[in-house]
Amino acid sequence: MIKVINPGLQTTVQDLGRMGYYEIGMPPSGAMDKYSHRAANLLVGNDEFAATLEITYMGPTLEFQQDAVIALTGGDIPPRVNNTPVSMWETIQVKSGDQLSFDFVKQGARVYLAIAGGFEVPTVLGSKSTYTLCGIGGYEGRALQTGDLLKVGDGMQRPVRVGTCVPKGLIPEFSRTHEIRVIMGLCSYRLTDESKDRFLSLEWTVTPEANRVGYRFKGERLNFVPREQPFGAGSNPSNVVDLGYPIGSIQVPDGVEPICLLNDAVTGGGYATIATVISTDLNRMAQIKTNEKVRFLPVTLDEALEARRVLNDRLNQIKQITNK
């Protein structure tokens, strides 16, 4: 068992997500930074789907009531075991009675804690991921609270030698300004050409409204091409007949502040979506904090698929390192 001494700001159980239920309005949830989540699991010998803890901004204090092999990946929230700093991106042994805690965040926003065997919570619709809005999955459908007792599962596939680490070249770095690649489209025809250009040239500031549901950005007002609204859409120029929202899609309600929808977002609605963050860069979105700056960089589908290939290749390298 692992006892929660202090839950941190928001610590939830996540895996690779609840897939296949989008059409009933069930968002996938799951780890926001899947690269880090996967790497953490590989470092402890788990299946990549095993549940990890997603730690946001301020880390928890956890007490291990059993010996365990763990790994911490993601943004840099410096971890300590019994108050002594330990490495991230490395296979670590902890003993029964050890306490894991964290310093203030240095870069990035989310850390993933994997444990050999995975965190054991009930599977709901094929996933252990927490979806707090509906209270589904994870630990009682919510973020961790003081006193919670987490069970360790038996999902370890192969032992990984303690001290195995991910080489520097495969560890992502996060700064305070971010370039996030998007594919333009969906309903971007609704924006004026000038606003489309402004969307891509402006440096957007992340507002405090930045969480697992989505990130909202401040910059300047964007304008929509005037038209007589089609039947059923609603009267605001940013309205369309309610449609599906891709994960990572960006909408601009009333033209005021763009919102990028993420893992726990609503699955559809009546706002024109203008672009979608490519799947690989959703990992990077997860590591962006309030007040940091974001520029959206348009790419083609081929470029997005190439980025995906590069990321898969990096994960395969980690797989080989942890398989030795």
Binding site: Y21, E23, G185, F231, G234, S249, G270, T273
Partner: protein
């Protein structure tokens, strides 16, 4: 003119029409049914929506451009003429002007087009009804097609099966509310909805549904197979109830005995589009027979 768009590298969004119509909705339903049948590799989600649909694919298994080619072919092949829908007709009891949504409505007056009237009074006026009672009657007289499910688990978008000139249309709130009560019955654009869980929302609020449409842990027989009740293609009849009936239903829900009154139906888009009024009468006759 149909638009095929990439939502990043995993989603394909297909807009069949910019405006809402039963034709576009049935067409999206027919195409997504075919996509399901075809069992293409790598498909993760198939999401029919009101006048559009969306497919999520693993691009490592099926190239999105190739999938678009397939979807274009389906668009040409599939018609709504030879398409049959097997669905349920459902009696959905609504308490209009209930105390809970009324409280929410009053709390967010500053976000509304007309702070001096309620959502129902405002909607009645801009749709040319003499009174809010007349609007309630228009809402409850004719059944709705569940044209899309989503937003949050189980929220049904419902499109009334009446000729265009008879359809109710209302704007969404100027700025969305931060609170909507669970089971609130609302209207936005041309769509009636029930909010399955408490949360944010921008639709005009008219009342509250007596029974749930979403259950995380099923206690009612209607939820034994799925946490969510509405399915695309269902026909919902919103029925006005009084407080006594509302309280009775609430008690049945608490006791785990409530069951929606439903009847099975098979129909074609043609049946609806050709003569919505006749179709509605048949539906209601069948439901309450």
């Amino acid at each position: 003119m149909t638009r095929y768009e990439h939502g990043g590298d995993e989603f394909i969004f297909v807009e069949l029409a910019e405006e809402m119509s039963l034709e576009a909705n049935f067409k999206a339903m027919a195409i997504t049914n075919k996509v399901r049948e075809k069992q293409y590799p790598g498909i993760i989600d198939i999401c029919p929506s009101n006048a559009s649909y969306m497919v999520r694919v693993n691009p490592d298994l099926f190239h999105p451009e190739q999938l678009i080619q397939e979807l274009r072919t389906l668009e040409q092949q599939v018609t709504i003429d030879d398409f049959e829908i097997s669905a349920r007709i459902v009696d959905v009891p609504i308490l209009f002007e209930d105390p809970w949504t009324h409280e929410a409505v009053m709390r967010f007056r500053d976000r509304h087009q007309d702070p001096n009237s309620t959502d129902l009074e405002y909607a009645a006026r801009i749709n040319g009804y003499q009174s809010k009672e007349a609007l309630i009657q228009a809402i409850t007289d004719f059944p709705y097609l569940v044209s899309m499910v989503g937003f949050v688990p189980g929220l049904p978008w419902c499109y009334q099966m009446v000729p265009r000139e008879q359809q109710i249309e209302v704007p969404k709130y100027v700025r969305p509310r931060t609170f909507t009560p669970e089971r609130a019955f609302g209207f936005g654009g041309a769509f009636a909805v029930i909010y399955p869980v408490q949360g944010a929302g921008g639709y005009q609020l008219f009342g509250v549904a007596a029974a749930p449409i979403y259950q995380k842990e099923p206690t009612l027989p209607d939820f034994q197979d799925s946490m969510t009740f509405p399915r695309q293609g269902d026909i919902f009849r919103y029925r006005k109830i009084d407080r006594d009936e509302f309280d009775t239903i609430r008690m049945q829900v608490e006791q785990g005995t409530f069951r929606y009154l439903t009847k099975e139906i098979t129909f074609t888009p043609h049946d609806v589009i050709q003569n919505p009024k006749q179709f509605s009468e048949n539906v209601l006759g069948r439901l309450y027979r």
